[in-house]
Structures are given as C-alpha cells and as structure tokens.
Symmetry: C2
Subunit: 194 residues, 2 copies
C-alpha cells in the first residue's frame, strides 16, 4: 500500500476514483531545513508525506518559536486555514529531515473534491479526525503531566527523538528544554533494566 492509498482510503471511494486522486499528485523532494510554507504566505497546495519528518511552528509575542505539531510519514502537510480560506498562513512548516512527498495544488484538489462525492466525504472525515486529535491534545495538556505527555508523544512518534532538538519538543509539550532534559533523565533511570 502506497502512502497516497493509505492516506485516501475511504469506503465511499471507488478504485478508479482513488486512482484519479492519486494521479493528481506530483512527487516532490524537500531537503532538511526547507520550508513547505512560511508565515505570511498563502498556501496553494498541500503534501502527503511518504518519507521524513516535518514540524510546524508559530512565533509567539516574545519572539519564541512554539512547535504546534509534528507530521510523520503517511500524514498530510497542510495549513488548513490558509489553503481553504485563501488567507496568509500564521504558521511555518519546515522539514526536519530530507522528505519525499506528493504535492497536489488547490485548484486540482477543488476540482476533484467537487466532482467525486466520496472525496468530499473523505475530506470531511479527515477534518473530523484532525479536530478530534487536536481536542485530545488540549485535554491532555490539562489532565496529564509534562512527563506523561512526553512519553505519549515519543510512543506515537519515536522518530522525533532522532531528528528534533529538545527545545522543539519542549515547546510542543508546553515546557522548557531544561525541564524536558530533567524529565527525560527520570524517564531513562526509571527504565533501567527493562
């Protein structure tokens, strides 16, 4: 199963429709450090990530980078608000590693979205799940300790450890890199022998 097939899997998409969607994508390569989207730009496309790791972040009022998300393989690299509302992005999206991905531009997407019934159903399902995950994240910020959030993140995205510096992970968790360093030390020593 390819990246695109796994991303677009949906019960209402017939094989030939899925094929049409897949064919609308164009393979693209990004190098570590490249930007998929910069704050202030209006997105004109989105990307399905086959290989690599990506980070999105915003700059807060005091100039500090706050990581808003990590995007892993078989996930979509997109600023929904910028792409669909045609407004300048408020976040930056940057490759943490070299990336292989599949690009589709807005116009092509729109045309497929409105001509293939199952595709707009897929789109709504994808948005629903994004909303759900984001809500889970908000709840986790409230109910879980920083250490629990760290462990959950690493469980879901172990590749982050290799490619993102502590400070990026820390701002995603809502703590300082100093604290994360201490949390990680406790975590390691509590695992000795396992």
């Amino acid at each position: 199963m390819t990246t695109l097939q796994s991303i677009y899997r949906h019960p209402l998409l017939k094989p030939e429709e899925l094929q049409a969607i897949v064919d609308a994508h164009e393979k693209t390569v990004y190098r570590k450090g490249d930007y998929f989207l910069k704050k202030g730009q209006t997105a004109n496309e989105y990307y399905c990530l086959e290989k690599g790791l990506v980070r999105s972040y915003v700059i807060d009022f005091s100039g500090r980078e706050i990581t808003t998300g990590f995007i892993g393989e078989n996930e979509i690299i997109i600023d929904v608000m910028s792409l669909f509302q045609r407004i300048p992005s408020s976040e930056n999206i940057q490759a943490l590693t070299d990336c292989v991905c599949y690009r589709i531009d807005f116009e092509t997407f729109q045309q497929l979205y409105h001509s293939i019934h199952g595709f707009s159903e897929w789109g709504r399902a994808w948005m629903s799940e994004s909303l759900f995950r984001l809500k889970q994240r908000s709840i986790s910020m409230i109910t879980d300790s920083a250490s629990e959030r760290y462990q959950a993140l690493i469980r879901q995205h172990p590749e982050i450890l290799k490619h993102a510096p502590l400070k990026h992970i820390a701002t995603y968790l809502g703590i300082t890199d100093t604290s994360l360093s201490r949390i990680r030390k406790d975590f390691v020593s509590s695992n000795v022998g396992t």
Copy 2:
C-alpha cells in the same frame, strides 16, 4: 439577521439556497441541565444556538469533569466526530441555561450538503475555522498564564460568568477552582476604579 442566517453566511450560497438550508431546521427548546448529547450516544443531529449557553465536557481517568468548550449564541452545538463518523460520542454536551435552538438531522444535512455546492464549501470553511480556533487554544495553553487565559475567555464569552460555576471554568482553563478564585481576586483588585 437571524441566528441561522448569521451562522450560514457564505459567499457561495445563493439566497434561495440559504433559504432551503434555513427551512430544513426545526426550532427546539432545551431546559437548563438538559443534555444535547451524552457520552456513548451517537449524534444524529446538530443544533444552531439562538439563545442560551452550553457546555461540553469529558470525564477524565480519575472521574473528574473536564470542560472542553463553551458554546454561545449564534454558534453550533455539535460533536463533529460522532455525527460525521457515526460513532459514539466521547463527550457530553449540556445546557447551562434554558436554550432556544434550531435542530437539523444528519440525513437532511447530508442531502443538502451534497446537493448544494456552496453548502459543502461552507462546511469546510466552518471546519477550518474550528480547527484554527482549537489550535489557537492549544497555543494559548502554552504561551499564556492562567490569568491571561481567564481574562481572554471572559472577554469573548462574558455570559459564562453568570451561568457557569467556577469549577467548570477552571477545568476549561486547566487549573483548579481554588486557583481561579485567587486569580479572579487579583483581577478584580487590579481593576479597582476602572
């Protein structure tokens, strides 16, 4: 401008299409304490709120209620994941006051959604904005102090003060009601004479 017209305003919706959408809703009344949706139920409709205030919440692992959102007038009362994915809801949605709202069931919605081009555009725009607001909330949990978050919430939804007990507001902000009580005291005294 009625509640429904304000909620469904969209550049691609022609007046007669908007009218068809509006006509598909049925006025309903809820009493304070009533549930729009309970955890475990699968949503079969959503509601546009004309008058009143609503709270959504989940129960965490230790049995504590965590407020996940407040819904005010001219906003939509919905569990997106449950309604569109046809799965049991993980949250409870409850009226904090008597409410006047307009109900539309899933089947009717689906039919309009797929027959009126502008309506699915509207739906996607609504989802985009929901995602955006939720992301802003996550960022705010990281960059702002509890006191700043409280003040922002009250600015956006002053009616919450009258209708929600401290403990509901506190869990939404991610703090205890004790802390919120102290924060509010500081806030009041810092505003003496203004």
